[in-house]
Symmetry: C2
Subunit: 242 residues, 2 copies
């Protein structure tokens, strides 16, 4: 059975204006590869309600899972929960389970539970909460969409909460061969090998080291035996690789 | 007149499998902000012909400009040029202008001009070449789509070639105020201010420093006077900000 598929939707003007370099998508890509969920698309959009609604609808329809990052904090530019609710046709309001989690957390720390913080208890009807062990304010899953915070350590904690609950597939196995030759010198042999191993993905990634051209040849697949056999064939073809 | 809009399409399995952290989109986001072109969407897709064709069609139709990164090298997994040609209904083959650029470059260096390298002279009919001062193999612009290499230093050189040829708008001006208070403590005042300045974008970005919660309040817009005035109002509201 093929692995389930996924998309990641990163929400935030700070990425598109160049202020912040996106990192949550990269982190999740690695976790999904280990979990056997094929990440097919990563999309970044700004803090615009209609744009988020359209992206959530398109991506949740196209893939088995959609993971979102960002826009669930306490400020006016945190509009993800409302947009996701609309995308799934769900009502949204302060939910008692989320409110009581936050109330207990702030009470224990002597922090005022103000109106801004209460915004973080707005959860679409029917959604399941995603635990936030860092700062209590939960994410949520609705349908096949998993809504998580953008702050990297909270995002990572939420991924750790939600991923084990999903049915994954065979983990992606990656092996690579580093060759100190330009990729164009390897392309013909590598391309012919790739054509012989259609079930194993082969990628070529050039680099420059101290002025010399080198290439990482990468072999990926979900069947460890096939990946190992393909890599053995590649090593026979290019014995100088490391 | 509002600024022109743009999307970036990053092409490569290495991003989606978590092997490589995307950086070209972040670089271009900063350059577009300076050029007065509003980046509205960044999308990452894998090395799949139909997926690339569909993404190029959707994004080039939705925005004034589309910039792509990756997949124009010499190996079998470099399929961007063919996919972009199909998206624009153009034929593609080795083009003499691109071939002669490469021939001169390799001849000067005593490098064999082999079949893999000749692949990099495949350019859609009607496209304009984008100069590559690093390693000669050109990018190209067809319609409103600008196709560039994924290797970061080559990508950046191609951006420097193509951006000055585009008509931009007013550069994005960003000012920020760093406050050592949690964002939920600032949210009400900041949200009220944002509502008073609808033409200026205001974003709130929490951080943790040595266990203490802080917030960067960011004000963005294309009218420097309005951004400065909004920032002055913000400083009056939150005088302890730096």
């Amino acid at each position: 059975m093929p692995n389930p598929t996924a998309a990641v939707l990163i929400i935030g003007d700070e990425i598109l204006t160049g202020r912040t370099r996106e990192g949550n998508g990269h982190y999740l890509a690695g976790e999904l590869a280990k979990a056997g969920i094929d990440l097919r698309e990563l999309r970044v959009v700004g803090d615009d309600h209609a744009t988020i609604v359209a992206a959530v609808r398109a991506l949740s329809a196209a893939y088995h899972h959609l993971f979102t990052s960002g826009g669930i904090g306490p400020t006016h530019d945190d509009i993800t929960a409302d947009a996701v609710a609309e995308a799934f046709g769900a009502s949204i309001g302060v939910r008692e389970d989320a409110r009581s989690l936050l109330a207990a957390y702030y009470a224990a720390r002597g922090v005022e539970f103000n109106a801004a913080r209460l915004r973080m208890a707005r959860i679409p009807a029917g959604a399941r909460l995603i635990e936030n062990p860092v700062s209590a304010a939960p994410g949520f899953s609705i349908g096949n969409c998993h809504v998580m915070a953008g702050v990297p350590n909270i995002f990572q904690a939420m991924v750790a909460s939600v991923l084990p609950q999903l049915v994954g597939g065979a983990p992606l196995v990656t092996q690579s061969l580093r060759v100190m030759r330009p990729e164009a010198a390897l392309a013909e042999a590598f391309g012919a090998l790739a054509a012989e191993w259609p079930d194993v993905a082969m990628g070529s990634y050039p680099f420059v080291q101290e002025g010399a051209f080198g290439t990482n040849l990468v072999v990926r697949g979900t069947d460890p035996a096939r990946v190992a056999a393909a890599m053995a064939a590649l090593r026979r073809l290019i014995p100088e690789g490391e």
